[in-house]
Amino acid sequence: MKNFLALLAALGLGVLIILSLQNNTLFNEYGEDVTGRDSEEYGDREYGEENPASGPANIVTSIVADFRSFDTLGEITVLFVSSLGVALLLGGTKQKRLDLGFHPNFMLRIGSKALFGIILMTGVYVTIHGHLTPGGGFPGGAMIASSMLLLYLADDTFRAKIKGFKILESVAGSLYVLIGIAGLFFADYFLENFLNNGVVGDLLSAGIIPLIYVLIGLKVGSEISGVIDNFLTEEVV
């Protein structure tokens, strides 16, 4: 009976979504052109243009870190508060490494350490090129955290220096807000880009956006590393 009701609810949701979409073009040819939407103006520049309104060659980046940067500030706050929560729930004074049930052999240890550097570099690269190519602070930061994860897997007694993560996390987050407040003073608005946008497509372009993305990368990286560390420990009974 309960399953039947659940099925009914799920079916109802699906049918209603489809019904509510019928009066527009989604089901004929996916969505429509961006014409008529607010997002028309987001891509309003050309490759090689000098100092446009928003600098990144990657339009998604220009939305994430420029037009709607405030959303992104909120987003890293979500990650921040959930990493605090994980630490609150799983952290404690008496902690030991979680027993993973296997001991890494020689190959795993050496291989992981070799991979650690490569993944870390990839993460940094993805972060720095976020305004030009797909990627940016979030996947870059997550890659940095994955490289930390490898260290944990390579050595079953490894514990990272949580304090270092905390400092990084705090400084990166504060700097993001401070850059926003700087915009209030150097330009007119919170989080406004107060540097020259440069040439679309250059590495050193897009004003404060690469800076913001690096901060996001560091913050996401340190937060997720902290979360992983908390998940890989348990209280001493």
């Binding site: 309960k2 399953n3 009701l5 659940a6 099925l7 609810a9 799920a10 079916l11 949701l13 699906g14 979504i17 489809i18 989604l26 089901f27 040819e29 996916y30 969505g31 429509e32 052109d33 961006v34 939407r37 607010d38 997002s39 987001y42 891509g43 520049r45 050309e46 490759y47 090689g48 060659a57 990657n58 339009i59 998604v60 939305i63 994430v64 709607r68 959303d71 992104t72 909120g74 987003e75 890293i76 979500v78 990650l79 508060v81 959930s82 990493s83 929560g85 994980v86 729930l89 799983l90 030009l132 190519t133 797909p134 979030f138 679309v200 497509g201 996401v220 997720i224 979360v227 998940f231």
Partner: protein, 110 residues
């Protein structure tokens, strides 16, 4: 085609949430719901023949980009999803510590 899959994933996620009695399974259902939602949001911005919204040296004049806004929204949604999943899993461990089981029916309290 993918938007139908997205809607079915949404439905499956909701169904799982309503029927599953295991804490981990509930979080899995939540993740399925979120993947469906993310695919759905992207499909709202996509149209056939659209280009990925990145300027390169080969971008033609007057490029026909897909809608970049939903993509930015999904980036936000994915990160928020990780946050809630991590928190849910941490709570799952606390629940296990307290009740010795992950099954809601075996906890004797509700």
């Amino acid at each position: 085609m993918l938007q139908f899959a997205a809607i079915i994933l949404l439905m499956l996620g909701l169904y799982g949430l309503l029927t599953q009695r295991n804490v981990i399974k509930i979080i899995i259902s939540l993740n399925i719901l979120e993947i469906g939602l993310n695919l759905f949001i992207i499909s709202v911005g996509y149209f056939e023949g659209g280009l990925a919204p990145i300027f390169t040296s080969e971008t033609p004049a007057n490029p026909n980009f897909v809608d970049p806004l939903p993509q930015a929204l999904v980036l936000t949604a994915i990160v928020i999803g990780v946050g809630t999943t991590a928190l849910g899993l941490a709570l799952a461990r606390k629940i296990y510590q307290k009740y010795g089981t992950l099954n809601l029916d075996e906890m004797g309290e509700n």
